[in-house]
C-alpha cells in the first residue's frame, strides 16, 4: 500500500454489507433516473413515428400559395421537402363516382410519398402524364382493375377517363366510408378539378431539415412571403414530439414534463443522499480512528470523496446497463405487438438522453451527497473513536415518551421523530413517492381525455342501409348470427340496430322529437354501465324503454311517454335512464332505446338500419366475404384500419404512461425498503445491546414497525399535502384548460400508492427483522 487512499477498496471489502447496500442504492437510483429519461425519449420517438404514420412527416402547411411563393419556399436552405396537395369530394357529397361509388379526388406531387409514408404505393408508378391516375386498392379489388386499364369517372360536368399507373393503399377514411380514391399529379388535378376545389384545399406541405429551428423558420417564411397566420397550420402532433411546438397547450405539457423530470432527479438524489449519510454515520468510529492516527480533516474529506468516486465507478455503469436493457425490452414490446406502427423503432437503440441524465445525475448526486457525510466524517473527534461512544453520533436531544405507550413503541417512534433532520429527510423521501405518483398519474387523466379508445361496442365492419331506413332484412341478420354461433368466417359478434328518426314524442306535457333505436342482448349488456336509474331487464324484455339523459329529456323510471309512429300514438313506460349512448340524434332530438320486439311493435318495421360486426379473424379475406354478402344493396364500412390506428395510439401511450407509474411505484418500494434497511443497520449495535439487556425479537420487531409506521404516516401526510396541490395544478393545466373537466380528488391514485407504500413498508421490515433474528449479540456489540 503506497497511499492511504488505497484503503478504500480494502475497506469496501471488509464492510461488504454496508458497501453493497450503498452500491445497490446508487445502482437502483441511476437505473430509475436513466430508465425514466430513456422511456421518455423512447416515448417521444414512438409518438413521432406514430405522428408521421398518421398525420405525415410535414411540419407546416401553407394554404393558397402562388407559384412564386412556392419557388421561394423550395429554395430555402432549411427546407427538406415541399409538396403540393389538393383534394375534393372528401366529404363524399359532390357526385364524383367510379363504378357508382363515391370517389375522393386528390392531386399531389411525387414528393408526397416521402411526406406521407402511410400512403403506400402498392404497385405501379406515380402518374406523370396528364391522363394517368393512381387508384385505391379498394377500387382495384372491387372493379377488378389492373395497371394500364382505363377507369371512367362520372363528374357533375361529364365523365373523365384516366389510365391506371398504379395502386395505393386505402386510407382508413375510405375504408370506413366505403369510398374509392383517385390520385393524379398536381398539374392534372389543377386542369381537371380546379373549379371543384375550395381555395383552402390547395395546400403546400413543408418538411424541414432535422435540427432546424422550425418556429423561427416559419416566422421568417411568413414574414418574407407575407403569408397571413390563418393560412398556416402546424402538424401539431409531430411538432409536439419534436419539442418544437408553439402551441401554448403543448408548451404547458413540456413544462409539466420538465417538472416531473426534476422531481425524478430530486428523488434519485434523495435516495443516494440518505444511503451515503447512513453509510458514513455507521463508520464514525473508523473515521475517528483515522483522525486519531494522524489523518487531517482534509485527508478524511478526501478519503470520503474518493470513496464516492469509487462507488460511482462500481455502481453507475450497472445502473445504466440495466436501464438500457429495460428500454430495449419496452421497444421490443412495441415492435412485436404493433409492428405496422412501431416497426421503425430501434430494436436495440440506446437512449442517449437516458444514459446522459442517469450518468450525470448519478455522478453529481454521489459527489453532492458525499459533501455532508464528508464534513461529518472530518468532524469526528479522535476521542469519539477511542471512547467507544461512537453511537452518540445518533444521540437524541430529548428523551422518548415511555409513559403513554409500550417502551418499544415509544422508542420506535422516537427513533423516527427524535432527530428533526432525520425525520424530514426520511418522510420527505417517502412523500416523494406520493408526489411522483400523483404527478405522473396526470398522464393517465391526460390519456383518458386525449386518446380515443375503442369501446366494447366498436365494430370492425358494418353494413349500413343506404337511406338510413330499416332496409337490411332480418334474414341477413339471422344468417350472420348463425355464422357467429357456428364460429364461421371469423365472426365474433353480430349486433344490429333499427332506427326510427324524427318521431314526435310527448313527455311531461311537452311535445318533442326523438330517435327510437332498437338494441339486442349485447348492446343492452354494454349499456349497463351507463344506467343511472331504473332497470335494464324490463327494457330488454320489451316492457319499457330506456331514455338517454339530455337537456329537455329528463324523466323518472315508471313515467310514461307518448310516441307517434306510423301506427299511431303509443304509450311506453320508462324502465331506465342512461347517462349516454354511442350515438346522438342532434340538437333537441332525444334518444329512446328499446328492445327489437318492442321496436317492431311500435313501428311495424322488421329490418335493420345497421348491422355491426366484430371479427375474430380480421384478415382481408374475411372482410371480402362479408362485403360480398352485403353486395351493393348496403354500404359496407370497414373500420379495421381506423381501429388499428386507435389501438396503436392508445397502446403506445398507455405502455409508457403505465410504465412511468410502474417505475415510480418501484421508486417508492425501493425508497422505503432502503430507508428502513438503512435506519435499522445504523442502529444495529444499539439493538444488540438491547437484546443483551433482555428485549425480545418480537419487541424489536414492534420497535422497527413503529419507526416505519412513523415514516409512513408522516410521509403520506407530507406527500398528500404537497402532492394534491401539485396534482390539482397539473390537472388544471393538462386537462381542465383543454377539456373543461373539473378536478376531483384522485382517490384511486392515492389508495393505490398508499397500498404500494404500506406493502413496501411491511416488506421493508422483513429483511431487518431477519437480520436481527440471526444477529450475534456478542459480535454486534463487540464484547
Amino acid at each position: 500500500m503506497k497511499n492511504y487512499l488505497e484503503l478504500i477498496p480494502v475497506s469496501a471489502k471488509i464492510h461488504r454489507r454496508q458497501t453493497r447496500m450503498t452500491r445497490w442504492c446508487i445502482v437502483i437510483s441511476v437505473f430509475l433516473i436513466s430508465v425514466i429519461f430513456g422511456m421518455a425519449d423512447m416515448f417521444l420517438q414512438s409518438q413521432k413515428n406514430l405522428a408521421i404514420m398518421i398525420d405525415g412527416a410535414w411540419h407546416v402547411a401553407f394554404r393558397e400559395l402562388d407559384a412564386e411563393q412556392m419557388a421561394f419556399l423550395s429554395a430555402r436552405p432549411e427546407v427538406k421537402t415541399v409538396t403540393r396537395y389538393a383534394a375534393a369530394n372528401y366529404k363524399l357529397n359532390m357526385d364524383y363516382e367510379v363504378g357508382g361509388v363515391q370517389t375522393v379526388l386528390c392531386g399531389f406531387d411525387e414528393t408526397f410519398f416521402e411526406i406521407y409514408p402511410a400512403a403506400g404505393l402498392l404497385e405501379g408508378s406515380f402518374p406523370k402524364g396528364t391522363e394517368e391516375a393512381l387508384v385505391s386498392e379498394g377500387m382495384r379489388n372491387r372493379l377488378g382493375l389492373g395497371i394500364g386499364d382505363e377507369v371512367e369517372m362520372t363528374t357533375p360536368g361529364g365523365s373523365l377517363s384516366f389510365r391506371i399507373s398504379g395502386f395505393v393503399e386505402d386510407t382508413s377514411m375510405m375504408l370506413k366510408t366505403d369510398a374509392f380514391g383517385l390520385f393524379v399529379n398536381t398539374d392534372t388535378y389543377l386542369s381537371c378539378f380546379r373549379e371543384a376545389t375550395l381555395r383552402e384545399d390547395f395546400v403546400c406541405y413543408v418538411e424541414f431539415l432535422p435540427h432546424c429551428r422550425i418556429q423561427k423558420a416559419i416566422r421568417d417564411i411568413c414574414g418574407q412571403l407575407h403569408i397571413p397566420e390563418d393560412k398556416v397550420s402546424e402538424n401539431a402532433r409531430l411538432m409536439g414530439t419534436l419539442m418544437q411546438s408553439s402551441d401554448h397547450y403543448i408548451l404547458m405539457l413540456y413544462l409539466i414534463a420538465f417538472l416531473l423530470a426534476v422531481l425524478v432527479a430530486v428523488s434519485g438524489m434523495m435516495m443516494i443522499l440518505g444511503s451515503m449519510n447512513s453509510n458514513v454515520a455507521q463508520r464514525t468510529e473508523f473515521f475517528g480512528m483515522m483522525r486519531c492516527l494522524g489523518a487531517t480533516g482534509k485527508q478524511v474529506r478526501r478519503y470520503v470523496r474518493m470513496e464516492a468516486a469509487f462507488w460511482c465507478l462500481k455502481a453507475i455503469p450497472p445502473g445504466l446497463f440495466a436501464s438500457v436493457l429495460t428500454v430495449w425490452g419496452l421497444c421490443r414490446m412495441l415492435k412485436v405487438i404493433t409492428p405496422t406502427w412501431f416497426g421503425e423503432m430501434p430494436g436495440f437503440g440506446v437512449s442517449m438522453p437516458g444514459v446522459f441524465f442517469g450518468a450525470v445525475i448519478g455522478f453529481l448526486t454521489v459527489f453532492f451527497a458525499s459533501r455532508t457525510p464528508t464534513r461529518k466524517a472530518a468532524e469526528v473527534s479522535p476521542l469519539t473513536a477511542v471512547s467507544g461512544n461512537a453511537d452518540t453520533v445518533f444521540a437524541a436531544k430529548r428523551a422518548a415518551n415511555t409513559g403513554r405507550m409500550h417502551v418499544e413503541t415509544a422508542l420506535g417512534l422516537h427513533h423516527a421523530a427524535g432527530s428533526r433532520k432525520n425525520l424530514i429527510l426520511l418522510t420527505s423521501s417517502f412523500a416523494f413517492s406520493i408526489i411522483l405518483f400523483l404527478g405522473f398519474g396526470i398522464g393517465v387523466d391526460f390519456m383518458k381525455h386525449a386518446i380515443k379508445t375503442l369501446r366494447p361496442y366498436t365494430p370492425d365492419v358494418a353494413m349500413i342501409s343506404h337511406d338510413n331506413a330499416c332496409s337490411i332484412p332480418d334474414s341477413l341478420y339471422a344468417e350472420l348470427k348463425g355464422m357467429e354461433q357456428k364460429g364461421n368466417v371469423g365472426i365474433r359478434r353480430v349486433y344490429g340496430r333499427s332506427f326510427a328518426y324524427d318521431l314526435p314524442v310527448h313527455m311531461q306535457g311537452e311535445s318533442k322529437t326523438a330517435m327510437l333505436v332498437s338494441y339486442e342482448a349485447y348492446q343492452f349488456g354494454w349499456a349497463e354501465s351507463s344506467l343511472t336509474q331504473g332497470d335494464m331487464e324490463s327494457a330488454e324484455n320489451g316492457e319499457g324503454i330506456l331514455l338517454v339523459e339530455k337537456q329537455g329529456f329528463v324523466s323518472e323510471p315508471g313515467s310514461e311517454i307518448e310516441l307517434e309512429t306510423d301506427r299511431g300514438i303509443q304509450r311506453v313506460r320508462v324502465s331506465g335512464v342512461l347517462r349516454d349512448a354511442p350515438f346522438d340524434g342532434g340538437e333537441d332530438v332525444g334518444t329512446i332505446i328499446c328492445s327489437e320486439d318492442l321496436f317492431r311493435e311500435l313501428t311495424g318495421e322488421t329490418g335493420y338500419t345497421i348491422l355491426d360486426i366484430q371479427l375474430r379473424d380480421r384478415s382481408d379475406e374475411t372482410v371480402e366475404k362479408l362485403r360480398s354478402m352485403a353486395g351493393d344493396a348496403y354500404s359496407f364500412s370497414d373500420s379495421r384500419a381506423s381501429n388499428r390506428e386507435t389501438r396503436a395510439v392508445y397502446f403506445s401511450f398507455a405502455l409508457f404512461v403505465y410504465g412511468f407509474l410502474a417505475v415510480v411505484a418501484l421508486i417508492a418500494v425501493f425508497h422505503i425498503i432502503n430507508s428502513v434497511g438503512m435506519s435499522v443497520s445504523a442502529r444495529m449495535r444499539q439493538y444488540g445491546a438491547m437484546r443483551a439487556i433482555g428485549i425480545s425479537i418480537r419487541q424489536l420487531q414492534s420497535m422497527i414497525a413503529a419507526e416505519t409506521f412513523a415514516y409512513l404516516a408522516g410521509g403520506m401526510a407530507e406527500g398528500l399535502l404537497v402532492g394534491l396541490p401539485l396534482h390539482y395544478y397539473l390537472y388544471r393545466q393538462a386537462v381542465t384548460q383543454r377539456w373543461g373537466d373539473a378536478w376531483s380528488l384522485p382517490v384511486a391514485e392515492c389508495l393505490i400508492i398508499a397500498a404500494v407504500m404500506t406493502a413496501a413498508a411491511a416488506a421493508a421490515m422483513l429483511g431487518p427483522v431477519h437480520r436481527i433474528r440471526r444477529m450475534s449479540v456478542v459480535e454486534t456489540i463487540g464484547m
Binding site: 467507544g388 445518533f394 422518548a400 415511555t402 409500550h406 422508542l411 422516537h414 445491546a689 456478542v778 463487540g782
Partner: protein, 231 residues
C-alpha cells in the same frame, strides 16, 4: 445458597488450523450474595465465559444452571425473558439507550416486562448511585463514570439473581473506577446480590469475595480474597 452452577462448559471457535478452544470443560458454582471476579490475560476466554453464562453466546457443550434453571434448554424467547428478569449486565461501553433519560434507562428492563416501576425503589437506586440530580438527563449529557453508574442501576432494578459485569471500569479513570467497584460491593452486601465480574485490573479484585482465573480456556479457582495468592 447456590445461585449458579456451570458444568463442563466448552466453546470452540474456528475450524482446522484456525481452531481455538476458548473454554475447556469449565465448571464452578456461585453462592447467593457472592462477589466473584474472573481474571485472565486478553484472549484467555474470560469474555467468552461471561457471554455464555449470560446466554448471549451458545456454548458447544456443558450446562449452565441459574437458580436451578437450565439456561441452554430454554427456547430463544424464554431465554430472553429469563435474562431480562434474572441476569443484569454491566458492559465496558455502558450501552445505554441514548433516547432514554437516566431514570428511563434504569427502569428499561421493567418497561420491557410491561411492569410499572416502584418509584420508591427507583428513588432508592438513584440515591445509592448519586444520580438524583441527573434523573432527567440523557446519556449524552453524562460523564463516563455517571453513565456506568446508570448501567449499574439498570442491572440492579430487577433485583436479578446474577449480575454479570464485563470490564465495568475499562473505560473509566481511576476515581470513577473506584466508585464503580464501591457501588458493586455495596450492591453485593446491601442487596445480597451475586456478581460475577471480569477484569484484568489486579487492583479491582481486592474488594471481591472470590477470584477465578482463566488461562487458555481453563478456569482455576484461586479461592477467597486472593490478594496474597495473586501477588
Amino acid at each position: 445458597m447456590e445461585i449458579m452452577e456451570v458444568q463442563d462448559l466448552c466453546k470452540t471457535y474456528g475450524k482446522g488450523e484456525a481452531k481455538v478452544e476458548a473454554l475447556k470443560y469449565v465448571s464452578f458454582t456461585l453462592q447467593k450474595g457472592e462477589f466473584a471476579a474472573v481474571v485472565g490475560e486478553s484472549g484467555s476466554g474470560k469474555s467468552t465465559l461471561l457471554n455464555c453464562i449470560g446466554a448471549l453466546d451458545e456454548p458447544d457443550g456443558g450446562k449452565i444452571l441459574v437458580d436451578g434453571q437450565d439456561l441452554l434448554a430454554m427456547g430463544e424467547e424464554e431465554r430472553t425473558i429469563f435474562r431480562r428478569r434474572n441476569i443484569g449486565f454491566i458492559f465496558q461501553s455502558f450501552h445505554l439507550i441514548p433516547e432514554l433519560n437516566v431514570e428511563q434507562n434504569i427502569i428499561f428492563p421493567l418497561l420491557l416486562d410491561y411492569k410499572k416501576p416502584d418509584l420508591r425503589q427507583v428513588d432508592g437506586i438513584l440515591e445509592v448511585l448519586g444520580l438524583q440530580e441527573r434523573r432527567g438527563h440523557l446519556p449524552g449529557q453524562l460523564s463516563g463514570g455517571q453513565q456506568q453508574r446508570v448501567a449499574i442501576g439498570r442491572a440492579l432494578i430487577t433485583r436479578p439473581k446474577l449480575i454479570l459485569a464485563d470490564e465495568p471500569t475499562g473505560n473509566l479513570d481511576r476515581k470513577n473506577s473506584r466508585e464503580v467497584i464501591e457501588l458493586l460491593t455495596k450492591a453485593s452486601r446491601q442487596y445480597q446480590q451475586t456478581i460475577l465480574m471480569i477484569t484484568h485490573n489486579p487492583n479491582l479484585i481486592t474488594s471481591v469475595d472470590r477470584v477465578m482465573q482463566v488461562a487458555d480456556g481453563v478456569l482455576s479457582d484461586l479461592g477467597g480474597n486472593a490478594n496474597e495468592k495473586l501477588s
